[in-house]
């Protein structure tokens, strides 16, 4: 009895890093279902470029944690084929930027096959994509390309911001009978948070209200949700009560949660690391403007997105090219004053 209680307490306070949480999800899925296997550059003995797969190769063997040649097209094509034949591949694109090489397989094949074969073939694959800036990795290793894929019917695109969600959403993604892309921010891998033990799911397509507020709504996902929460706490000290919505999923997008919040606060700001133009902010702004929530806007919508530049190598410039907490603070103050 007392042992059980201690275990429960232990579980309740247990903290893991984001990377550990993903590794734990992978292990749980692999243990539960032998069709699940990992696939990618250096995911085996090296443990992954960001150490996410870690010791999994020792626990599940090189047949299920497979080091591939340096060919994203090859990895993705093999994964699509494996998924069609009934396997559950989880592939890692070492830096999400390299997904450009795998576009054909993901966009033209994985996203379309189920529709074009009338459901007779399915592609239950998961693509893990470490993305984002902040590591000094320069223009070809730092991008946030998630919006490209959120544009494609047939794909699901998720961007968890916490270790808890990373584990639960990855497990939900592996369950999903359709292709799911999970964009993992490189700066989040070392962040810690409570992660329950065992198997659980965080549903895809459901946003989380991270902080309730009355004055304005900040929508973001991944690290931007984290920065928005930090900014909101500072704003509260200035008397600005910001509501923060962690999107978690870009496609499908949880418009209802955003709409309910804007209906309440009358002010909306969308924060995202991807380049501002033609991005997530445009989509969410347009969704609000097209809907009946339009009538509840009491200030112009603010989009806070990445600068219109290839990400600089210089760490100062790199930071300046992507919304930081100070930028969110400043924009939120403007929004609270109703300025555009």
């Amino acid at each position: 009895m007392s042992t059980l209680t201690e275990a429960a307490v232990e579980s309740a306070v247990r903290e893991l890093t984001y990377a550990e949480a993903i590794r734990e999800a992978l292990a749980i899925a692999m243990e539960a279902d032998e069709r699940v296997f990992l696939f990618g550059e250096d995911v085996g003995v090296y443990g992954g470029a960001f150490g996410v797969s870690g010791d999994l190769v020792h626990r599940f063997g090189p047949d299920r944690v497979i080091d591939t040649p340096i060919s994203e097209l090859g990895i993705a094509g093999a994964a699509v084929g494996a998924a069609i034949t009934g396997m559950r591949p989880v592939l890692e694109i070492q830096f999400s930027d390299f997904v450009t090489l795998a576009m054909e397989q993901i966009v033209n094949q994985a996203a379309k096959i189920r529709f074009m074969f009338g459901g007779k073939a399915k592609v239950p694959m998961v693509v893990r994509l470490p993305g984002g800036s902040g590591t000094g990795a320069a223009a070809q290793h730092s991008q946030s390309l998630e919006a490209w894929f959120a544009h494609v019917p047939g794909l699901k695109v998720i961007q968890p911001s916490t270790p808890h969600d990373a584990k639960g959403m990855l497990l939900a993604a592996i369950d999903d009978p359709n292709p799911v892309l999970i964009f993992e921010h490189k700066l989040l891998y070392k962040t810690k948070g409570h992660v329950p033990e065992g198997d659980y799911r965080v549903p895809i397509g459901k946003a989380a209200v991270r902080r309730e507020g009355r004055d304005l709504t900040i929508v973001g996902s991944s690290i931007m949700a984290v920065r928005a929460v930090a900014a909101a706490e500072k704003l509260a000290q200035e008397g600005i009560d910001a509501e923060v919505i962690d999107l978690r999923s870009l496609r499908p997008i949880d418009f209802d949660t955003i709409a309910a919040s804007v209906r309440k606060t009358h002010r909306l700001m969308v924060v995202y690391e991807g380049v501002k133009t033609m991005g997530i902010g445009a989509e969410i702004s347009a969704m609000i403007a097209e809907s009946d929530v339009f009538d509840f806007l009491d200030a112009p919508i603010i989009r806070l997105g990445g600068a219109e530049v290839p990400l600089p190598y210089n760490p100062v410039l790199e930071k300046a090219a992507v919304p930081q907490e100070e930028n969110i603070l400043e924009a939120a103050r403007r929004l609270a004053r109703g300025e555009a």
Binding site: H266, F294, D295, F296, L297, D298, A299, R337, G338, E339, A340
Partner: protein, 417 residues
């Protein structure tokens, strides 16, 4: 088919008007050309004539609230048409559309024409497409039957937000509550609440807006009126003989100001965005009062008119204001305003600029004042002139040069010749 009486467009840029008072009652027989009601625009109150002869019915209450131009406000039933003929459906936008069916026996024939606002709605606000307002502000205004143009915006570039609409709403007199009306009369605990008429509403909103957008600064000068008084005495009777009106000090000052303003383009200008519009003519507005409301008719092209011409024009405007026949066109296009309160014994005062003008001259009374002249103390008739300028385009020195010219022209009117 009954003839509809619409709220007419009586002014070029008019989008809404209000019914100030009906001159006829529900069920009256009206002849084509009879005066039906007084229409209020943001510039003037005018009379609207009947478009046809017949029995007038379904009068929209004279609430003074803004109604969109083109909205039917009554129906005239022609001979042979039964009062029970259902008029065509009123414009969908009109929340306070008249009831198609009147009660068979109205307890009072005049009930429908009373000034009480409709208890269940307001006239539809106009589209107000030129007004800067957030969607929520527009929605809130719509729900409360407020014309968004009436609301003063506090946001960037004057944008109206929900807060402004709510503030406007809080200032508005409460709806007459039927329950409260039937409650036993209690001793009033607060003073009487006098709702704004359309003119007062415009005054309130335009002057607030002026104080908000234009950084005012003020400059005063005491000027010797002796020469001007002498001039008036000399030419006054002649002009009166010629044009039938005796020139007043105000119109003479308008002549003097019109003479010097062309040399001070920034004081005869308007702010337009990030630019100053320099007006090619001098149109002097003269502030005057009618029934407690401020009216500012305009002396057009004053720089090219002599005192007799200005006197005649001023006489016409003053009469039109008094007779309520002043046309909006007579109150439009001012480029500079003079407000003279000297006749009330005011020594000096500062005025709020009449937007979009850039300055206004406030004139106090002329009073014999001891001044030093050539080592002697002498009594001179001095008046205090206060110039309010918009510092966005008028700087201190600019205003001071105008004041210097003004002093010279008043103390030595010959310089204008």
């Amino acid at each position: 088919m009954p003839v509809e009486v619409i709220l007419p467009k009586v002014d070029m840029d008019m989008e809404t008007g209000s019914i100030e008072a009906w001159k006829v009652s529900e069920g009256d027989f009206v002849k084509q050309g009879d005066i039906l009601f007084e229409i209020g625009t943001n510039k003037a109150v005018m009379e609207v004539e009947a478009p046809a002869s017949g029995i007038i019915r379904n009068l929209v209450p004279a609430s003074g609230e803004p109604i969109a131009v083109g909205t039917p406000v009554a129906w005239i039933f022609l001979e042979g048409e039964d009062a029970s003929d259902t008029p065509p459906p009123p414009a969908a936008e009109t929340a306070a559309a008249p009831q198609a069916q009147q009660p068979p026996a109205s307890p009072s024939g005049e009930a429908a024409s009373s000034a009480a606002p409709a208890s269940n709605g307001h006239p539809a606000p106009a589209l107000d497409s030129g007004v800067r307002a957030t969607p929520l502000a527009r929605r809130t205004a719509r729900l409360h039957g407020i014309a968004i143009a009436e609301v003063t915006g506090s946001g960037p570039r004057g944008r109206i937000t929900e807060k402004d609409v709510l503030a406007h709403l809080a200032k508005r007199p409460a709806e007459p509550a039927p329950v409260a009306a039937r409650a036993p009369a209690e001793a009033p605990t607060e003073g009487e609440l006098v709702p704004f008429g359309p003119v007062r509403r415009i005054i309130a909103s335009r002057l607030s807006e002026s104080m908000r957008v234009a950084p005012h600064f003020y400059m005063t000068a005491q000027i010797d009126m002796g020469a001007l008084q002498a001039l008036l005495k000399r030419v006054g009777p002649r002009i009166e003989k010629a044009v039938g009106v005796r020139p007043s000090l105000t119109v003479l000052l308008a002549r003097v100001v019109a003479g010097i303003l062309p040399r001070h383009p920034m004081l005869n200008a308007s702010v337009e965005g990030d630019a100053a519009r320099l007006h090619p003519t001098v149109n002097i507005g003269i502030a005057m009062e009618r029934d407690g409301d401020l009216m500012v008719p305009v002396l057009r092209g004053a720089e090219g008119k002599n005192l007799a011409e200005l006197t005649r024009e001023f006489g016409r405007l003053r009469e039109a204001v008094a007779n309520r026949t002043i046309q909006p066109a007579d109150m439009r296009g001012g480029t500079f305003t003079i407000s003279n309160l000297g006749m009330y014994g005011v020594d000096s005062f500062t005025a709020i600029i009449n937007q979009p003008e850039s300055a206004i001259l406030a004139v106090g009374r002329t009073v014999d004042t001891p001044v030093g002249r050539d080592g002697q103390i002498v009594l001179r008739p001095l008046a205090t002139f206060s110039l309010s300028s918009d510092h966005r385009i008028v700087d201190g020195v600019t205003a001071a040069r105008f004041m210097a010219d003004l002093r010279e022209a008043i103390e030595c009117p010959e310089v204008l010749i």
